[in-house]
């Protein structure tokens, strides 16, 4: 898994703007247009409930949320990283902590101060979108680590079994399992889980790695 490159050209993007003062968003819409990001009239809405989260594309869509509106609805957030389904950029009017907190909770990764200044839009997109992508990358790393942590028990079991069945020490057993992972292109956790499940199913108690490797 490699960290993604920085996104710097937002051409082809689509912006949703959640605000109750659509008229004051002209500067934002025009600035976005210059960057190749389109906003249809129907994409400026008063509540996130008007957006279908399932239809959002994180690689294309950008959501601007006005911090001054009291929107009861929220976007669904991912379980591990608390990430919204597409990058969110907060529009800040009132700077009281409650309003800022609401934007942070919505997953905003960058902000624009109202009234919006057109030259601030490109840097806000650049930071917001790339920060979102970096968070998502870290989230996948974290999910992967979690999955590995859950598989730890099977790895320990598999090492102990291989040690006792082949009469080797833990380093040699680990090495055997690792080589097997490489030939079968599986992760250590998946391989060990399969081995443990298999031997539990067959009750044979024999983990014949040598034979499997030869295949």
């Amino acid at each position: 898994m490699t960290e993604s490159r920085l996104l710097q050209n937002f051409n082809g993007g689509r912006a949703f703007i959640i605000t109750d003062r659509a008229v004051s968003m002209d500067v934002l819409v025009t600035a976005l247009e210059r960057l190749g990001v389109t906003t249809d009239a129907g994409d400026v809405v008063t509540s996130v409930s008007a957006i279908d989260p399932a239809s959002l594309q994180p690689e294309r869509d950008i959501i601007f949320i006005d911090g001054d509106i009291g929107d009861a609805a929220t976007l669904p957030l991912s379980p591990v990283g608390r990430m919204p389904p597409a990058p969110v950029i907060g529009l800040i009017g009132v700077t009281a902590p409650s309003r800022l907190k609401a934007l942070m909770r919505a997953g905003a990764t960058s902000f624009l101060r109202k009234p919006i200044h057109s030259s601030a839009v490109y840097p806000a997109l650049f930071v917001g979108i790339n920060e979102y992508r970096r968070h998502r990358y870290l989230e996948t790393l974290l999910e992967d680590q979690e999955r590995r942590r859950r598989g730890r028990r099977d790895v320990v079991k598999a090492i102990i079994r291989v040690m006792s069945e082949h009469g080797i020490d833990d380093d040699a057993a680990y090495d055997l399992l690792r080589r097997r992972c490489m030939t079968t292109r599986q992760t250590m956790e998946d391989l060990c889980r399969d081995l443990i499940r298999q031997t539990d199913d067959h009750q044979s108690g024999n983990v014949d790695l040598q034979e499997r490797r030869a295949k």
Binding site: R5, L7, Q8, N9, A31, R34, S118
Partner: protein, 360 residues
């Protein structure tokens, strides 16, 4: 730059246009700290339109003031893009009108290995980034990227490095005296090393103009590539008239250049828009500006409404012994400005060098 604006001012005042320009000249002398004070002084006198600023750093200094006082800056210099202030009209080239055509030309005609030498500021950094992206996309390489303080003139080390590396070309973003010294020393060092510099390691840049060639002078003046929307050598009647009037007004030079042409165009666009708007109110001028079509020395130019940058015609010239440029490439028609390279760059930054490590 000033000369181009003054010539246009005189022409406007002698023309039938229902507008007269009374130029007020102030000179911050290239000292960044002076720009804001001078701009404020102009704006507070009630001057609404200012033509000028050469470097990006200078422009960035004054833009907030123009926005605050609702004045308009007519910026007549090519620059690195990624900006669009609603109080600025950009009449010089955007990166897709000078950097990208040059990179394209170099990759097609000279090879894929670039050596970048530049002055240490935004213009050089950003141009080198654009070059790197294009070169990497074509599986070429940037052999090295070296920066020098503005005004530095000792290039012995980097010239030795270039001669050792033998790149396909040198991409030069040095400015002013630094650039002139580099051209002279590089040519001399290549002569010593038995290299036909202009043919084997040409130096290409987006800022080299005719007056600068004269400043380089001597044996180092020919064979350099420059990308610009204007060269004196453009053969059309409008340019002929422009050059004749320019030489008459400024017989002692400096020679007309892209910057002179861009400020000349800026003043003409301003005058025509103000005449159409019936006053100098920035809003009125801007709304009329988008309707103007100017037959400029470089050919027809007009303003792109979304970005307030200019449609211009990219050209590439190779300098000759007379300190002029021979055109080697020219766009068929004026090119739409793309200051954010929305239509002219990849979605992602250029691939970084792979971070591979030896695992066993």
């Amino acid at each position: 730059m000033l000369n181009g604006a003054l010539l246009a001012t005189q022409e406007v005042n002698e023309s039938e246009l229902d507008v007269r320009i009374n130029p007020f000249i102030c000179n911050p002398g290239g000292d960044l700290a002076q720009y804001a004070a001078h701009a404020l002084c102009l704006l507070q006198q009630g001057i609404r339109h200012v033509v000028g600023c050469y470097t990006s750093s200078a422009r960035k200094e004054v833009i907030p003031l123009f926005e605050k006082h609702d004045g308009m800056l007519w910026y007549p210099s090519h620059y690195e893009g990624f900006e669009s202030s609603s109080n600025v009209v950009y009449t010089g080239a955007a990166p897709n009108q000078h950097v990208l055509p040059l990179v394209e030309y170099l990759l097609q005609n000279h090879g894929r290995h670039a050596f970048c030498v530049g002055s240490n500021y935004i213009w050089a950094w950003e141009n080198n980034r654009i070059l790197r992206e294009s070169v990497v996309a074509r599986r070429g390489s940037v052999v090295a990227e070296r920066y020098f303080a503005v005004g530095d003139t000792d290039f012995r080390q980097v010239i030795a490095a270039i001669i050792a590396a033998r790149p396909s070309f040198v991409f030069l973003t040095l400015i002013g005296t630094s650039a002139y010294e580099f051209f002279r020393h590089f040519r001399a060092a290549c002569v010593v090393a038995g290299i036909d510099q202009a043919r084997e390691i040409p130096v290409a840049s987006c800022s080299l103009s005719e007056p600068e060639l004269e400043a380089i002078g001597g044996d180092a003046v020919d064979g350099h590539l420059s990308s610009s929307v204007y060269f004196c050598s453009i053969a059309n009647p409008d340019n002929g008239r422009f050059l004749q009037a320019y030489t008459k007004m400024f017989p002692d030079g400096p020679t007309a250049s892209a910057d002179a042409e861009a400020s000349y165009n800026a003043v003409w666009l301003l005058a025509r828009s103000a005449a159409a708007a019936g006053g100098d109110d920035p809003r009125g001028v801007k709304s009329q500006l988008v309707h103007q079509r100017l037959d400029a020395p470089q050919g027809r130019v007009w303003i792109d409404e979304p970005t307030f940058h200019c449609y211009l015609t990219p050209r590439i010239g190779r300098s000759n012994r007379n300190a002029r440029f021979d055109l080697v490439s020219e766009a068929a028609a004026p090119v739409q400005p793309d200051p954010y390279l929305v239509n002219n760059s990849g979605r992602f930054e250029a691939a970084p060098s792979p971070a591979l490590r030896l695992v066993s």
